[in-house]
């Protein structure tokens, strides 16, 4: 009794030494027995979250070689210990029961999986690669050497480590494979072109942590609070300091709820909105005159041949209607030429490239990810900005019609709301104040995606917000290393460091290549050193000056070989083998029906993933099996499922959305047959080389001569990831690890696998492992990880000081000239020649970095300036202009004869039919605008979330968001079923009736928008139709990104038809709308 009474908390508290119950008295016997979940851990392995591109730090707790807990790393300056629901569920992702651990094989015409041992499976794949490569081999095309195979392709890399992407690109290029792609194409390829051509580099100009210094933050095309919640903490910090937050988006979300101003607009009309702000800034005199005159190309005179869309009714000069592409000669600066686009061409070039079309379609704009177009000559300038052909005057004329009334007519935004946004932005953009823009795939995934980003770039340059603290443009990327998979590209058009893949008709020799693409001034003038160092990294002693450093070993591109072109190659039977490495196109790529139909034409398919995603099982349970469009027994495709290792089971680096490389260490060995992509690629390459050993076939020389000698370790012979990183970083002839790309040479004396990453392994230290707690350094966090280039955190930061080198204001001081020390100093690594005086003027004929003046902050541009007008690099126009989405219920009031982007890439074929738009007959069949988005609790196509019980429970079903008004109009009830239909497909979803979807008035009509997340598919713990059944393959012509953020649809109450009735239902819609092969294809 005494004991029982003694354990009574109140008595214990009142009679003991802790009468207020603030100490030991509060503890019960039960709580005393509790231990921390990590109490038994024997080590904490430092890691990085594998989901989105924020790059939150993770602590992985290990006990007895088992991962027992994963928590946020409180020392990380990126995340400060926080994890979102996905990051918090990563223990379940990695150790949960739904991962596959066994290799599976589906034989041709087989009806089910069969287990297969890993060794046999890898050997079979090696055989199939060799055969498909040979079958699809091309030595020449149109009489030009291409040395490539079109017989196989790969897709995936944004979720992989940089080292894995590096080996994939290296091996596949040596095999002659050009169809190498990853999610970066699908998510942010337009970012690379948009930011790259504007500023000289295609990555975010700033980092989320610096948003805390912003006075105004415009979030547009992004639901940052839900899609990148941990990064949103910096917006909240800014708000707490008094910043204004503006959210411009079709759908009200948690981002809107925390904003000062929420502006709903019609999806796909952001250029009209931003163009309106640009017009406001120019007409109201709100531009930052000193910044604009000194740091942009506003004063540069443009060729007299240039004609604007305002002159030609929606076309820029140089348009070829037959091939639907622009010849950009007339857009160039007076007195300058772009090497790639002019002098070197001859009649043969024009014939072979269809007047340059194959070049225009080759994704060359992405090569400006770290180096602007190859400008040569001296631009003419009018510093008064009065010359009628100077960029400033062209800009004023171009945007003169973008009035508040036009913004309302196109976007559905009332003039008073628009005016408020303009006032907030301009009031917070000057010497003392800065405004930042944040965007995500709401901007990138359009047929004018690049131009969305260009529009923001123009505005930020006019306002003087680039290169300054609290300013900039933050591209919020969506995968752990999607920035890395652009930098070290598993992309068809790029080599590491944004060096272009050579084009057959233009890059026959190394000298041609360098001549065509290197600039005369700035650091891009040293492109030959970057390229030769890469060739030395790949072919080592075999690469010598006598053989052009094996430049001929690189396969040549001849146009677009993007993932969507690969789908066509598969449908046509030319591409026979396909690797999917952490990517699920059966759900996540545009027109998922066509994706599956293409895979059904393959000879073999390799899927590497955690679980049996839809891209692995379409042959037995895909939607086409139910509709009867495919029959399992008739499908000849062999399918291999290789279980992948998780981030905790391998070592490597991710590059996050702020260009920051962070290393994650291996915590435990992977179970069963699970292996890293580093292991898979290395050992696949090793086996192929063994099988080809002794071959005298010239075709095999590149892969046999490849440097493929990485050390291995552990029970699985895992390649040492640090060795790959060391090769990426580079070394000199003394074996010394390089510390800067300025050390690279074009004579073969240096090796460097990716010049922009040079420095990440400086001094033999893995700089990506640096983890100094954020509280022990300033907000830039420069001692945490390593950011490209040269560990700079805000790019173009020379522009944070005025032309004389003084900060624009004390409040916004960042980098400045220290005359006493004779160098640039401040809070960051100067993005400039460290000791170049601000008054430096280049001598006549100076080239390279010395060719730019002391007040040219954009050191990767050939003219050192930020580009308001892009004389080269963007294939659909030097200035952003409003065009309607491909499938739109509205006409384009600006250009009635050219509603849509005239240079967009179309793929007219059965299964990818387009819709009538605007006032075309039949457009009324698809009266609503659909936009797609991401949920906090799910991840892209669901492969990393729909198998996780926690996340599945939190977001258990596909839903379609509609306004109460639309619900009443269409008889939709909350949590009832609705069917959404386009010309491509029909899907069903639960209805969510919500005020979050705001009806707008556009062109005098009531306009309803529909919102749907795109994560769902038929497999996993939670299932639903894939929203990409609705979308078409219609692409931005620069980056080949698909338009999935704005399309016209119909919505009706009830569930969709089943079986053969489903395609018949969609066909009935197409007939009702009068859709033919030509519909929607007008220029």
């Amino acid at each position: 009794m005494t004991t029982w009474l003694g354990n009574w908390p109140a008595l214990r508290q009142l009679t003991g030494p802790d009468p207020l119950g603030r100490g030991a008295a509060a503890a019960s016997r039960k709580t005393r027995r509790l231990t921390a979940r990590v109490a038994g851990a024997d080590r904490v392995v430092k890691s990085v979250c594998p989901y989105c591109a924020v790059g939150c730090g993770q602590n992985v707790y290990v006990a007895d070689d088992q991962v027992i807990q994963i928590e946020g790393d409180p020392d990380s300056p990126v995340s400060r210990g926080r994890l979102c629901p996905k990051g918090s569920a990563s223990l379940q992702l990695t150790t949960g029961p739904n991962r596959g651990h066994q290799v599976l094989y589906r034989r041709p015409h087989g009806t089910d999986w069969e287990p297969l041992d890993l060794d046999t499976a890898l050997d079979m794949v090696a055989d199939r690669v060799i055969a498909a490569r040979r079958e699809g081999w091309q030595w020449e095309q149109d009489g030009k050497r291409v040395r490539r195979t079109m017989g196989l392709a790969s897709l995936g890399g944004a979720t992989l480590d940089n080292e894995e992407n590096y080996l994939i690109k290296k091996l596949f290029s040596s095999l002659g494979v050009v169809q190498v792609e990853n999610q970066a194409r699908i998510c942010h390829s337009s970012t690379v072109v948009g930011l790259g051509t504007s500023f000289g580099r295609g990555g975010s100009t700033t980092f989320p942590g610096d948003l805390q210094n912003s006075d105004c933050i415009v979030i547009q095309g992004s639901n940052m609070a839900e899609s990148h919640p941990v990064a949103y903490q910096w917006v909240v910090e800014a708000k707490a300091r008094g910043a204004a937050v503006i959210h411009i988006d079709p759908r009200f979300s948690r981002t809107s709820a925390l904003a000062d101003v929420y502006v709903p607009l019609r999806a796909g009309t952001d250029i009209a909105f931003l163009g309106g702000v640009i017009n406001h800034v120019l007409t109201e005199g709100k531009w930052f005159e000193e910044y604009v005159k000194a740091y942009t190309n506003a004063s540069t005179i443009v060729s007299e041949d240039f004609r604007d869309t305002e002159d030609l009714g929606g076309l820029f000069s140089g348009f070829h209607e037959g091939t639907r592409h622009y010849e950009p000669d007339s857009w160039q600066y007076e007195g300058m030429v772009v090497g790639a686009a002019s002098g070197s061409r001859d009649q043969e070039y024009n014939e072979l490239t269809h007047d340059g079309e194959s070049r225009a379609s080759s994704g060359h704009g992405e090569s400006h990810g770290s180096g602007g177009p190859a400008l040569h000559g001296n631009p003419e300038r009018d510093e008064t900005l009065q010359h009628p052909r100077c960029v400033f005057q062209i800009l004023k004329r171009h945007y003169a019609r973008y009035t508040p009334e036009l913004v309302e007519e196109i976007c559905g935004v009332p003039p008073e709301t628009f005016r408020r946004v303009c006032d907030l932005i301009t009031a917070n953009s000057n010497r003392d104040r800065t405004t930042a823009f944040v965007y995500a795939v709401g901007w990138t995934q359009h047929t004018v995606g690049v131009q969305f980003i260009r529009a923001a770039s123009i505005l930020q340059l006019l306002l003087g917000n680039i290169g300054r603290p609290g300013g900039g443009i933050e591209a919020m990327r969506g995968h752990a290393s999607i920035q890395g998979s652009s930098d070290i590209p598993t992309l068809f058009d790029l080599l590491p460091g944004y060096l272009p893949m050579p084009h057959a008709h233009q890059h026959e020799t190394l000298a041609d290549f360098v001549k065509a693409d290197s600039a005369q001034r700035g650091y891009w003038a040293n492109m030959d050193a970057y390229m030769v160092s890469l060739l030395k990294a790949w072919w080592g002693p075999k690469a010598t000056p006598d053989n052009d450093f094996c430049f001929d070993y690189l396969p040549r591109i001849t146009g677009s070989h993007s993932t969507y072109d690969t789908v066509v190659e598969q449908l046509e039977g030319r591409c026979k083998g396909y690797f999917l490495m952490g990517e699920n196109p059966a759900v996540g790529s545009a027109n998922s029906h066509l994706q599956r139909m293409a895979m059904a034409q393959l000879d073999w398919l390799v899927v590497r993933d955690f679980a049996q995603i839809e891209s692995a099982t379409w042959w037995k349970d895909g939607p086409e099996i139910e509709t009867g469009e495919l029959t399992t027994e008739d499908i000849a495709t062999e399918v291999f499922f290789f279980p992948a290792a998780a981030h905790i089971e391998k070592a490597g680096s991710f590059t996050n959305t702020q260009r920051l490389l962070q290393w994650h260490h291996q915590a435990v060995e992977p179970r069963g047959d699970c292996r890293s992509d580093l292991w898979f690629t290395y050992h696949l390459g090793r086996r192929i080389r063994e099988k080809l050993a002794g071959s005298t076939d010239e075709m095999d020389r590149p892969v046999l001569d490849l440097t493929w000698d990485y050390p291995t370790e552990g029970p699985n012979d895992e390649p040492v990831a640090e060795a790959v990183l060391a090769e990426i970083n580079g070394w000199d002839a003394d074996g010394k690890h390089l510390s800067s790309y300025t050390q690279l040479a074009a004579d073969g004396s240096t090796v460097c696998g990716c010049w922009i990453y040079c420095g990440v392994y400086a001094d033999g230290v893995n700089q990506a492992t640096r983890r100094k707690p954020y509280l022990q350094q300033d907000w830039t966090g420069r001692e945490w990880g390593w950011a490209w280039p040269a560990n700079r955190r805000i790019l173009y930061n020379r522009a944070s000081a005025d032309p004389s080198g003084k900060p624009w204001s004390e409040r916004k001081a960042y980098i400045w000239w220290d005359a006493e020390e004779g160098k640039w100093v401040g809070h960051d690594v100067p993005d400039f020649v460290p000791d170049k005086r601000p008054d430096y003027e280049p001598p006549d004929g100076a080239i390279g970095p010395e060719g730019l003046s002391g007040s040219d902050p954009f050191i990767m541009q050939g003219d050192g300036r930020g580009w308001l007008f892009a004389p080269a690099g963007v294939v659909d126009g030097p200035l952003p202009t409003h065009y309607e989405p491909q499938d739109s219920p509205f006409t384009n009031p600006l250009y009635p004869d050219h509603d849509r982007n005239p240079a967009r890439r179309l793929y007219p074929r059965p299964g990818n039919r387009l819709q009538p738009s605007g006032d075309e007959p039949g457009a009324e069949v698809f009266p609503f605008v659909l936009t797609t988005y991401r949920l906090t609790e799910h991840f892209t196509s669901g492969g990393m979330s729909r198998w996780a019980p926690y996340l599945s429970e939190l977001q258990p079903a596909l839903a379609v968001e509609v306004s109460p008004e639309l619900a009443a109009d269409r008889g939709l009830t909350n949590w009832g079923w609705a069917t959404v239909v386009s010309a491509r497909g029909a899907i069903e979803a639960r209805v969510l009736v919500t005020d979050r979807m705001t009806p707008l008035t556009v062109q005098g009509r009531r306009m309803h928008q529909i919102g749907m997340p795109y994560h769902f598919g038929p497999n996993g713990l939670v299932t639903g139709d894939a929203v990409n059944e609705l979308t078409s393959i219609t692409l931005d012509p620069n980056a080949h990104i698909q338009e999935v953020k704005a399309l016209a649809v119909d919505i009706v109450a009830g569930r969709r038809p089943r079986g053969p009735a489903l395609p018949a239902f969609v066909e009935e819609y197409r007939e009702r709308a009068g859709i033919t092969a030509e519909t929607g294809t007008a220029v």
Binding site: V45, G735, A745, Y774, L775, Q776
Partner: protein
């Protein structure tokens, strides 16, 4: 259980939390929690006023939990790999010699 004052007295005298905890018979992380009111594992957010708390350490307190951290930044074998590549590449070495 030691009091806050007892822990802080030792910290103010220059002892680390590891030594203070050892002397007081408690884990270092618990000593930190008692002294600052903040968990050593960093699982709390710091308000501006928290930076004034006596005994506060700016980051890195996870080490007080006593679980060793695994974050190696160098590997000797990489140097062997790199030098092997250089040894195999006569052109590279010759080009460097020519430069000099």
């Amino acid at each position: 259980m030691p009091t806050r004052e007892e822990v802080l007295r030792r910290i103010d005298a220059g002892e680390g939390y590891e030594d203070a905890g050892r002397a007081l018979g408690i884990p270092a992380g618990l000593a930190y929690l008692i002294a600052t009111g903040l968990p050593a594992d960093g699982s709390d957010s710091l308000a501006p006023e928290d930076y004034e708390r006596p005994g506060l350490r700016l980051g890195g307190t996870q080490a007080l939990l006593g679980v060793p951290h695994h974050n190696p930044s160098e590997r000797r074998s990489i140097s062997e790999f790199v030098h092997g590549r250089v040894r195999a590449d006569a052109q590279m070495r010759a080009a460097a010699t020519t430069q000099q």
